[in-house]
Structure formats: structure tokens, C-alpha cells
């Protein structure tokens, strides 16, 4: 399609020349073919390079063609759209590849036996065994951390939004921001230093304490945002009925925002479920089943994955177990997310007639 031909069809000043609807797809196809051709011709080994060349060709090709046919304003618009698409692909490719690799390698040994048995006396280099001890450890440690971290976090957020004025509130906000940046290993070392003072052996609850420290700022931040979203009119309506402030918060503000708060807590749980460093320091790892988080070393899923990988001495059986445990962990976090979304949808303020 030439510029002249398109220009000739113009009938109104409001109607400009435009590319046909299929043109973006054609440009994508063309740039992929060109990218592959250039990659092959130049003898580039890495498919990533091919992809990047195709992406650049797509962005510049879009601009060139659109600028020729439609003018520079529309060309800029199309470039912005194409950049969004390229960024989207760049973000999605690693994600899909990670899930794909984890699933394809993880399903090899992931079965009921794996989920219900622990390593026990199975050597790391031998096949068999499972992650039961690690699953129990993860559930208990993360559960206890949530029991400690979520209420403190939510109450802190309630203070900041509903009561906090002046210097105390500002400093609490500041320290919450600082806590968000604490590396997990530092939280682990903090609890470890206390354990060393009292001469204690590693146990599951120590890990929970470190995880609770990591969880709190995330809960505070997300809950704060949710509470700020509650319209002030609802608070005033309740106060004007002669309801005391604490009851207003408990019966009006929190129920209105409970969906968002739940989502925030679940995201925080997902974040700490994958923490390895504090668990390594404080819980130590244990091939045997230990149901008691308050005494004796436990295991946990991230720790299990690390130990299977590090202690395997190259044995395939251990690698398979590590992948299967990774898949279990991802599934665990995903189920939590789905549950959170379900709760958020169920509890969200209703608008139906």
C-alpha cells in the first residue's frame, strides 16, 4: 500500500490515512522472521539474542511504517503500544518457562508417597523418601508466624490510620518502611543472637519469630492502604449514631475492608513461605518427622529444596526430590492465593439489588 494511494482516498479533513487492522500482526510476523534470519546469518547461538533482535525490529519497524503511512503522532502511539507488548512478553516468558520447568521436572516423583513420607534414613543420594517432614514444618512455622505477625500488623495499621497523629505515628511509619527493607538473613541473625544468649538449640518456633518480623511490615503497608480506602463518610455515619470510635472501627471500618486486608495478609504469607535463610539458621533442618515446633530441629520446604540440591553430590534422585518440593511450594502458595481471592470476593461489599 503506497502513501499516494491511501492519500487519494481521503474525503474529509477528519479522516486520516490509517494502516489496515492486520498490520500489527504482519509487523510482528515479519520481525520474527527477520530476527531469526539475522540470527542464523550472523551465526548467533543464543535464542534470547534472536528474540531481542526481533523485538527491536518490531518496535522500530512499527514506528517506520506508521510514520510513513499515518504520520508521526499515530506512529508514536503505535510505538507506545508495541513497547507495552514487548515488555509484556519479556515479563511473561521467564514466568512461563519457570512454571513449565518446575512442573515438568517436579511431577517425576511428586506423588502421594512423596507427600506422606519423610527422608528418615534414606540417604540423599538414593531414590525414595519424601517431603512430609518439610511440609509439616512449613505449615507449622508459617502458621505460627502468621498468628503472630498478622494481628500485630493489622493493629499497627489501625493505629496509623485511625488514631496516629504527630511524631509517634510518623516514626512508626518510618520504622515500618525500614523493616520492609530488612534482608531475611538479618532477621534470622537477630533471633539467633537471642537464642545464643539463652543457649538454645534450633527449633521451629524460632524460625516463626524471624518470619513474623519479615511479615509484619508487609501486612502493615497493605492493611494501611485498605483502611485508607474506607470512605470517611462511613466513619462519620457511625459516629453520628452515637457509636464509640473503637466499635466504629471494629464493626464498620474493618468489615468494609476485610477483603483487601485478607488479600494483603495472604500475600505476606506467600512471601514468607519461600524464605530459606532464617529457617536455615534457626530451624536447622531435620530428615525425621518432628511435629513439635517448640522443641527440636524441624525442616521446611525451602530448606528441603536447598539441602536436597546441596547434599546430593550430583545424584539424580535428590535433584528430582528438590524439583518436586519446589512444585509443592509453588502449589502451596498458589492455593493460598486462590483462597485469599475467594475470601476477598465473598467478603467484599455487595452492590447487588
Amino acid at each position: 500500500m503506497s502513501t499516494a494511494a491511501v492519500a487519494g482516498k481521503r474525503t474529509s479533513t477528519l479522516q486520516g490515512a490509517s494502516l489496515p487492522k492486520w498490520s500489527p500482526y504482519a509487523i510482528v510476523g515479519g520481525s520474527i522472521v527477520l530476527g531469526v534470519a539475522i540470527g542464523l546469518a550472523a551465526g548467533l547461538d543464543s535464542k534470547v539474542q534472536w528474540g531481542l533482535i526481533a523485538g527491536l525490529l518490531y518496535v522500530f519497524g512499527t514506528y517506520g511504517i506508521a510514520a510513513r503511512v499515518e504520520g508521526s503522532r499515530q506512529a508514536k502511539d503505535r510505538v507506545a503500544t508495541s513497547l507495552v507488548w514487548v515488555a509484556f512478553v519479556i515479563a511473561v516468558v521467564p514466568l512461563v518457562s519457570l512454571i513449565w520447568v518446575t512442573i515438568s521436572r517436579g511431577v517425576k516423583v511428586l506423588d502421594v508417597y512423596f507427600l506422606t513420607h519423610s527422608m528418615g534414613v534414606v540417604a540423599d543420594s538414593q531414590p525414595g523418601g519424601g517431603a512430609y517432614a518439610a511440609i509439616i514444618g512449613s505449615l507449622e512455622q508459617v502458621g505460627l508466624a502468621t498468628l503472630i505477625g498478622a494481628p500485630i500488623g493489622i493493629l499497627t495499621a489501625v493505629y496509623l490510620v485511625e488514631y496516629g497523629r504527630g511524631r509517634l505515628a510518623k516514626s512508626v511509619t518510618f520504622f515500618v518502611d525500614v523493616m520492609t527493607g530488612i534482608p531475611s538473613i538479618v532477621a534470622g541473625l537477630f533471633i539467633l543472637s537471642i537464642m545464643l544468649i539463652f543457649n538454645m538449640e534450633p527449633f521451629g518456633f524460632a524460625g516463626s519469630l524471624a518470619l513474623a518480623i519479615l511479615m509484619m511490615p508487609v501486612v502493615v503497608r497493605s492493611t494501611e492502604e485498605m483502611l485508607k480506602l474506607v470512605p470517611n463518610e462511613l466513619r462519620e455515619a457511625s459516629l453520628a449514631l452515637g457509636v464509640p470510635k473503637w466499635r466504629t472501627i471494629l464493626k464498620v471500618v474493618l468489615p468494609t475492608s476485610i477483603g483487601g486486608i485478607t488479600t494483603g495478609v495472604m500475600l505476606a504469607v506467600a512471601r514468607i513461605a519461600g524464605e530459606t535463610a532464617p529457617v536455615l539458621l534457626l530451624v536447622f533442618g531435620n530428615p525425621f518427622i518432628n511435629n513439635n515446633p517448640f522443641e527440636g530441629a524441624q525442616s521446611s520446604l525451602p530448606l528441603f529444596i536447598y539441602q536436597q540440591y546441596a547434599n546430593s553430590a550430583g545424584a539424580n534422585a535428590a535433584y528430582d526430590r528438590a524439583w518436586a518440593a519446589s512444585l509443592t511450594l509453588i502449589a502451596f502458595v498458589m492455593i493460598l492465593n486462590l483462597v485469599a481471592r475467594g475470601i476477598a470476593r465473598w467478603k467484599a461489599p455487595k452492590t447487588g439489588r
Binding site: 497523629r165 470512605p231 463518610e233 462511613l234 466513619r235 462519620e236 455515619a237 457511625s238 459516629l239 453520628a240 449514631l241 452515637g242 457509636v243 464509640p244 466499635r247 466504629t248 464493626k251 464498620v252 468489615p255 468494609t256 461489599p349 455487595k350 452492590t351 447487588g352 439489588r353
Partner: protein
């Protein structure tokens, strides 16, 4: 059960900014008093000082006296929460609680305060909804969320919620400004009925509305932007709209101002 209000020398601040200056007036029981005046003249602020909602705003504080049947609302040892149970309020935008059903919205005042008998709750809700002329429209869907009603119905739901706790005085802050003419008419009729039981104070920007619903009208004005608002005059509505004693009132009502 309505009570009289006597305000003397009332001044309200937002932080260091003086919003209204030295206002005194008497409001008789079983009457409707309308506040009119330009935006920013402090009518809403003054209304909110009558049930101590003003101090809910950060930095809000009040000097002067508000007597509710000879008891000073700003006296020592007065609990603002108890004041608000005596003096109810309806807001500009309808604000039903989104997590609650229609029934729970009306019962909210009683339920949240915890002083109710379960057997009486149904009667109170029915009586309040009938009082707000909403019963026939919602009696078949009391368990549906209140936010599903139309704007006018929501506002009447809010009125039902306010009268369910049996206040002595009902404050209304531009209750019809977000509503269409038909819903407005419904609320105005309702105000006429409610004044048999409550002392009603209403802020409005609609002068015809003030003329239609009120017995007495107070005109507020401010000298300039940033200056505190003042009470120019309060008189019988008929007199304010026919023969006001202050020139500024006549200018405002007839549209000659500024």
C-alpha cells in the same frame, strides 16, 4: 420527645483557622430550622458543632455554649458519644454501610451500641422504615444490601437509621443535594412529618426548599474568602423571604450579591 437548643457565643476553629465566629441562636422544639448562605460560610460547620461531630475533624475545636434543654453539650464531663445519641445526623451523600443489609443498616445504631432486645429489633426497624416512608418499597428485601437501593431510597434509609436510635434532634446536612426532584419531594414531605417528633435543623443551598420545609430560617454569610462565617439573621421563614431586616439577606435571596 424533642428538645430545644440554645446556642450562645459559639466559635469554631479548624486548627488556627476560625471557621465561624460568635454565633448565638435559639431553636424551638418541634420546628424545622433551615440554614442558608453561600458556600464556605460555615453553615455545615455550625451544624456539626450541634452534635459534637466538628471535633472528629483533625484540628477541630469549639468555644462557647450549646444548651440542649439547659444542658451544655460542651460542659465538663459530657461524653460526645452520648451527645450523638441525643442529636442524630443525616449527611449530604447517602452513606449506608456497604457490608450490611437494609435491616442491619437501620438496626445499626442499636446493634452497634449493644443496648437492644432481639425481640424488639424487628419492630424498631419496621417503625423506623415506616417513619422514613421507605417500608413499602423495601419490606420484601430487608436482607438485601442497602447499597443496592437508588440514591433517594438510600438517603431515606439513612434517615431511618438516624431516627431508629430515637434522637431528640435531627440534623440534616444538605440531605437532598445529591437527589433528583422526585426523591427530594419525598424527603421534604418526610421532614414535614418528622417535625412532629423531632427538632429538625437542615442545611440547604436550595432557597425554595428552605421556604417550603422550614418554620425559621437562618442566613449565614462571610465577609470575604478566608474570613470566618457569621450569622446575619434568624427569623420566621416567611419574614426572611418577604421582608428580611438585613439588606444582605435580601440581596442573597433575590440573587443580588457579590
Amino acid at each position: 420527645m424533642s428538645k430545644r437548643i440554645d446556642v450562645s457565643g459559639l466559635t469554631a476553629y479548624y486548627g488556627s483557622h476560625k471557621a465561624i465566629d460568635d454565633i448565638s441562636m435559639n431553636i424551638e422544639p418541634r420546628t424545622v430550622t433551615a440554614f442558608i448562605g453561600p458556600s464556605g460560610c460555615g453553615k455545615s460547620t455550625f451544624l456539626r458543632t450541634l452534635n459534637r461531630m466538628h471535633e472528629v475533624t483533625p484540628g477541630g475545636r469549639v468555644e462557647g455554649k450549646v444548651l440542649l434543654d439547659d444542658e451544655n453539650l460542651y460542659g465538663a464531663g459530657i461524653d460526645p458519644v452520648s451527645v450523638r445519641r441525643e442529636v442524630g445526623m443525616v449527611f449530604q451523600r447517602p452513606n449506608p454501610f456497604p457490608t450490611m443489609s437494609i435491616f442491619d443498616n437501620v438496626a445499626a445504631g442499636l446493634k452497634l451500641n449493644g443496648n437492644f432486645k432481639k425481640s424488639e429489633l424487628g419492630d424498631v426497624v419496621e417503625k423506623s422504615l415506616k417513619g422514613a416512608n421507605l417500608w413499602n418499597e423495601v419490606k420484601d428485601r430487608l436482607n438485601k444490601p442497602g447499597s443496592g437501593l437508588s440514591g433517594g431510597q438510600q438517603q431515606r434509609l439513612c434517615i431511618a437509621r438516624a431516627i431508629a436510635v430515637e434522637p431528640k434532634v435531627l440534623l440534616m446536612d444538605e440531605p437532598c443535594s445529591a437527589l433528583d426532584p422526585i426523591s427530594t419531594l419525598a424527603i421534604e414531605d418526610l421532614i414535614g412529618e418528622l417535625k412532629e417528633r423531632f427538632t429538625i435543623v437542615i442545611v440547604t443551598h436550595n432557597m425554595q426548599q428552605a421556604a417550603r420545609v422550614s418554620d425559621r430560617t437562618a442566613f449565614f454569610n462571610l465577609a470575604a474568602v478566608g474570613q470566618p462565617g457569621k450569622l446575619i439573621e434568624i427569623d420566621d421563614t416567611e419574614r426572611i423571604f418577604s421582608n428580611p431586616s438585613v439588606q444582605a439577606t435580601e440581596d442573597y435571596i433575590s440573587g443580588r450579591f457579590g
